[in-house]
């Protein structure tokens, strides 16, 4: 039998049937649902008089529209009536079809990509889908996970399957050791800077090499989360002892005899040594510096000690035009130092960087310090109720609050500003989220993607700085 990549193994194990042209019906083990991309799918089911194929594979939680401020009035805490209807609709749909929902007010509610791994709803070897492109996150556990549109959400509800063609295999190999102050976020931003935002199109990316073997499971989630910003729907990391240790004891994890059986199966979830990848990209981990995005695409990223590019130096006309547009939107001058960009807003949160390790890392930088008076608002938004509870048990909330941050309730928040947390027009934000697109955090807002440590350091300085000067 020929050598297989991790993606090949996961794909092969889930083929229900395959046509001669390669079109396959793939079985889905887990669907995560949230309020934004599911209402039309449930409506479609109802209109066609269909019922879910397997209710137990679905898990729902509202996250995009949920306020991060006072929640004591439950759903009534959502002041925007349109947002409130969407969250209510998720509740009505999950009740009608008997699907488990971690609703507002439940300690287990949170960002769907934090909740999945945290609850053990995501397990190694599973196929995991969600109507959200950051579903790639779950690949950190050796699951084949990717975002889908609403029509496919309905398709999975009705059939437990998806019609797909196999993607190509890409290996992004990062060896060496990361320097102090260089984080998983910097690694993935550096990768996107190298391959570009379309570099992984049509591929499933496996992240391999010493850097990922050394990385914690939560760090791996940060990396896989942003596979989509490199164009790949799927990000994957091989299962190892850390993966098994992470999953053990979680709510939906197998128990007893099934646990032993599962662990044996999971330990094979690695690419064979002689597996062949269609595309190989290599980076030297020891050379990666703290990263900051300067523009309006995640590929517009630089080392913190770098300077904003000059379109006059770009030969490709479409690219030069892209740089000019980005500079104008971001209100930056060509050739200016990254460290001269102000940080008027700071956002620590999102499915990329809102887990306990992210909050601990930011708190380490903030401890005993105050944020700059140039910072108008600094938000710390835990990824789930359980993350928040853990952080508070460790006293992290006090460190954030004493430094001048607002300590909020869990949700997607200012990553995409569907709730009330919006970045105002023209303001620069040091953000631990995943997208710096025009208007993403609020119409006219200017996003700079960074690690939690770098966001904390920018909050203290009031502009972008090298976190290594603060640790």
């Amino acid at each position: 039998m020929s050598a297989k990549t991790l993606y090949d193994k996961l794909w092969d194990a889930h083929i229900v049937r395959q046509e001669d042209d390669g079109t396959a019906l793939i079985y889905i083990d887990r669907q995560l649902l949230h309020e934004v991309t599911s209402p039309q799918a449930f409506e479609g089911l109802r209109m066609a008089h269909r019922t879910p194929w397997r209710i137990d594979t679905n898990l729902a939680t509202p996250d995009h529209n949920v306020p991060t401020t006072d929640l004591s009035n439950g759903i009534a805490s959502i002041t925007d009536p349109v947002s409130r209807i969407q969250v209510e609709t998720l509740g009505m749909n999950t009740r009608e079809f008997g699907i488990t929902e971690y609703a507002m007010g439940d300690i287990r509610q949170g960002i769907v990509h934090v909740v999945g791994p945290e609850s053990g709803a995501t397990l190694p070897g599973m196929t995991v889908v969600c109507g959200d492109s950051h579903t790639a996150t779950h690949g950190a556990l050796g699951a084949l996970a990717h975002g889908i549109g609403t029509s496919e959400v309905e398709h999975v509800l009705a059939t437990q399957c998806l019609i797909q063609k196999k993607m190509k295999n890409m290996l992004v190999k990062v060896d060496g050791k990361l320097s102090a102050g260089v984080t998983p976020k910097d690694v993935v931003l550096a990768i996107i800077g190298k391959i570009g935002t379309a570099g992984g199109n049509g591929h499933a990316i496996e992240f391999g090499g010493q850097v990922f073997r050394d990385m914690s499971i939560e760090g791996r989630m940060t990396v896989c989360n942003m596979a989509i910003e490199g164009g790949a729907r799927v990000g994957l990391i091989a299962v190892d002892e850390k993966t098994v240790e992470y999953v053990k004891g979680r709510t939906f994890a197998p128990k007893g005899e099934q646990w032993d059986m599962a662990v044996t199966a999971w330990m094979d979830l690695t690419s064979d040594a002689d597996a062949v990848f269609d595309t190989l990209v290599e980076l030297d981990g020891s050379m990666i510096e703290p990263q900051v995005t300067w523009g309006t695409s995640p590929e517009m990223v630089l080392d913190v000690n770098g300077r904003v590019p000059n379109p006059a130096n770009e030969m490709d006309a479409v690219k030069a035009d892209g740089i000019r547009r980005a500079l104008a939107y971001m209100g930056l001058e060509a050739d200016m130092a990254i460290k001269d960009i102000p940080a008027e807003y700071v956002f620590i949160g999102s499915c990329t960087n809102s887990r306990i390790e992210d909050l601990r890392a930011a708190a380490t930088v903030l401890k005993g310090r105050k944020i700059s008076d140039k910072v108008e608002l600094a938000l710390a938004v835990p990824g789930s109720g359980l993350v928040k509870q853990q952080a508070e048990a460790e006293g992290l909330d006090k460190i954030f609050i004493e430094a001048g941050f607002e300590w909020r309730n869990p949700g997607c928040s200012m990553c995409l500003a569907m709730n009330a947390d919006k970045l105002p027009t023209g303001k620069h934000c040091a953000s631990t989220s995943n997208r710096n697109f025009e208007g993403r955090q609020g119409a006219g807002g200017r996003t700079h993607l960074v690690s939690p440590e770098m966001a904390a350091a920018a909050a203290i300085a009031g502009h972008f700085v090298d976190v290594r000067d603060y640790i």
Partner: protein, 212 residues
């Protein structure tokens, strides 16, 4: 789903790379629980001077006159010509819903983001990939000639230029079949429910923890 067979139309040029789905339909419009009505907010931040809200009266909002879809010469276009990596970012199907609701049935680009590309087929939009040089040539033609039209013939997998010259394009056989017949994927999959059940019986033995 609406069938797509052949269409002749004016072409609107979206001359920038990496157009993301946040730009195609901004987040505030994602709060709708319907599939329709997104057309007036397609490219909202580029199209209007102000910030739109779901309850705005779009007909009363100030337009950015220079934006391509606001120019008189591109009105009633059903074909959108775009640059590389069109539709990147969020998986929101609201993006193809907005394009379709506005009137676009075809998007031509050198490359598309994977999820967006896939979502198009579910909504009767034909995403066509052409070589960068060919797309570049089409941009030049569209800018040079007011009222420039193309015909997209899905059956023949051809784009026909005004001079009669044909550009061939590739499309997945299964997806072409679905587009041309307006087929519902779910109905097709449910025809294989015995295969799905057989798969479940088999995997329940090897991976029972997935069936708890």
């Amino acid at each position: 789903m609406e069938k797509f067979i052949k269409k002749t139309s004016i072409v609107a040029p979206m001359d920038r790379a990496n157009v993301d789905t946040d730009a195609i339909i901004p987040k505030q419009f994602l709060k709708s629980i319907k599939r329709s009505g997104f057309g007036p907010n397609l490219f909202d931040e580029w199209r209007y001077e102000d910030v739109g809200q779901p309850d705005s009266d779009n007909s009363a909002r100030p337009l950015r006159k220079e934006f391509v879809l606001n120019q008189p010469r591109y009105q009633s276009a059903h074909i959108l010509l775009a640059r590389e990596n069109f539709g990147c970012g969020s998986s929101r199907e609201h993006a193809p819903w907005a394009l379709k609701d506005y009137g676009f049935d075809v998007v031509i680009a050198p490359s598309f983001a994977d999820i967006f590309f896939n979502n198009c087929f579910k909504n009767g939009i034909v995403p066509i990939v052409l070589e960068e040089a060919v797309v570049d040539g089409l941009f030049k033609d569209v800018f040079a000639t007011e009222g420039y039209q193309l015909t997209v013939d899905l059956a023949a997998q051809q784009i026909i230029r005004p001079n009669g010259e044909a550009i061939l394009f590739e499309v997945d056989t299964f997806r072409k079949h679905c587009l041309m017949n307006g087929l519902d994927d779910i109905g097709l999959t449910l025809a294989y429910q015995d295969d799905i059940k057989a798969y479940e019986v088999k995997t329940k033995k090897t991976t029972p923890w997935l069936f708890n």
